[in-house]
Symmetry: C2
Subunit: 340 residues, 2 copies
């Protein structure tokens, strides 16, 4: 049987630990140990093994390792809207942070939320060690993670039905921003929210509404977009056609930029003199000199670091409870809002 193995090995891709063992004149398990941290191998043996492995171009088969250790070192990252301009930065950071901890990213980019079930099937099949999800999961879907013992961390999402670990950016500095706008004299606020089913969008609209209420102001109108530039542009046009506004608060930067352009380019409204516009996220284009948007920047690095840390804590210790971590956004003063 051992002979049998030897006959057929060394075929196509890089060779197996048996090939290395044979070349180095040691047992296969010696090779295994040699590539495993914290195992004891005599220096001389190790050198012979490494030499043989290099000569053969051997790399341990992670698939086989996963099967036996029950650790795939794979983390599923599920993102609903990759083209959202804000997510690439999140994804880049997550990938980086996960790599540093030795995990690989299995990426799932949803085109529509309805794809989630089929994505989860794949997530189960690949035995991922955990998942970071920036998409809306149903209660059953979250329970499925719990049932299978797969750690889950939500990113900028939250569940009211199932206790689950999550990181979010709170509206915190948003309140100060709106208070500042009121102090500067803004009274007629138009809000541009996200789609009705977007938790992030709703939270921001509600945050703005609450802060306005504190000043005894009710928004003049609330319109909605889908977080895209075009939708912000269109929403702003609808708002201006119906109301006189002196402030627009958008649920994300890209819609705010669309609204800005609708106002200043199409309608010749001066910003910030006659209209203040603010967004949320702190995406790169908001800083561009044609915009200089006043906004709340999410601390992406800290948030992704927290998400990664929370995930790993739960991978190490499966029965760690839920936890919700909030991060305050930073106010970017920009040049599109008068602040008191």
């Amino acid at each position: 049987m051992a002979a049998d193995r030897q006959e057929r090995s060394g075929a196509r891709r890089g060779g197996t630990s048996y090939d290395v063992a044979r070349a180095a004149g040691v047992s296969q398990s010696a090779v295994s140990r040699c590539f495993r941290p914290g195992t004891s191998v005599a220096p001389g043996t190790r050198a012979r093994i490494i030499a043989a492995a290099d000569a053969l171009g051997y790399h341990p088969n992670a698939i086989a390792q996963s099967l036996i250790t029950r650790r795939s070192n794979l983390v599923a990252v599920i993102i609903s809207n990759l083209t959202n301009l804000y997510y690439p930065e999140v994804l880049a950071e997550l990938t980086q942070q996960l790599s540093e901890r030795g995990a690989r990213v299995l990426l799932f980019a949803l085109r529509s939320e309805s794809e989630i079930d089929s994505v989860l099937d794949l997530v189960w099949r690949y035995q991922v060690d955990g998942a970071i999800v920036a998409a809306q999961l149903s209660t059953e879907q979250m329970l499925a993670f719990a049932a299978r013992g797969t750690p889950l961390v939500l990113y900028n999402r939250h569940s009211t039905t199932v206790p689950v670990a999550s990181v979010s950016c709170d509206f915190g500095a948003g309140s100060a921003l709106i208070a500042g706008m009121v102090a500067a004299g803004c009274r007629a606020f138009g809000l541009i929210g996200g789609p009705p089913d977007s938790a992030v969008g709703e939270a921001r609209v509600e945050g703005a509404r609450a802060e306005l209420a504190r000043a005894g102001i009710a928004p003049v109108a609330v319109d909605r977009g889908d977080f895209s530039y075009e939708s912000g542009h269109a929403a702003a046009h609808r708002l201006f056609a119906a109301y006189h506004l002196d402030a627009i608060v958008a649920a994300n930067d890209v819609m705010a930029l669309g609204a800005m352009d609708a106002a200043r380019i199409d309608l010749a409204i001066r910003i910030p003199d006659d209209l203040s516009v603010v967004g949320f996220d702190g995406v790169a284009p908001a800083k561009w000199r044609s915009y200089l948007l006043t906004t709340i920047r999410q601390p992406v690095r800290r948030m992704t670091a927290a998400a990664t840390a929370m995930l790993f804590e739960r991978i190490e210790n499966l029965d760690l409870g839920p936890e919700r971590r909030f991060f305050p956004g930073d106010l970017i003063r920009g040049a599109t809002a008068r602040l008191g």
Copy 2:
């Protein structure tokens, strides 16, 4: 031994095909067949198995499948600069197209090109079926793919030393664009290239230079950036400080936008009256009303579809030769260049 297996199974995550087999009163291999397409299982048996599997929440273990079939259904996607604004769209499309063909994306986002070697180690370990790479690989690195029989498709990159499959966007429409600018009277061209080691950047600069040469014009100056807005902005400032220009050609849109803002905002140069600015890519912000950049849009969908198709052809047929596929960019007329 079989009894042994049964004792310890059904532990934590979802259960194994043995659990399903036991619950359905069939052999484990029947369960295996039931989940494999094109295998013969009696309708009644299949129904019992499916019922048992559903009850147990069974999902076949893709890791174990990969080990035995030597097909991981994993494709490595290696991208050098995820925050590049152009790549998110590419990544979203690739992920989509690969999913449709049943492949999963193992994402590697490089912070610097020097990380490639350690990434490749992981690529080998995970036994990916193939790789799509939008990063600069060395000759040895490409040869390693060949040596291991791992299909490789380069995206917007190309090798002059090793024959390898690739898709790129050719400068094609760029020539017409530059010819149009010359026809409209532009004479003093400033070029903003990418970093010296960027093949894409060089190709575009060379394309522009060649087309200008055809009109008997040499560029007044060539500066460089790193494809970021800030670098385009800075490069434009350096150019304007030293030369009088009536046209700027940037190697990508984002630098073109930075250059535009340097010109029109900082220096009050009128665009397109006194200065034409063009870019390359067709990213979303180029279409925003504050910019309306004249540019060449890469046909991302077609390019990613081609990359995916080429990769799968090579996964099915390992000794398919190299092939280079070019796609023409579409001219987006925008409003930032006078065209003859």
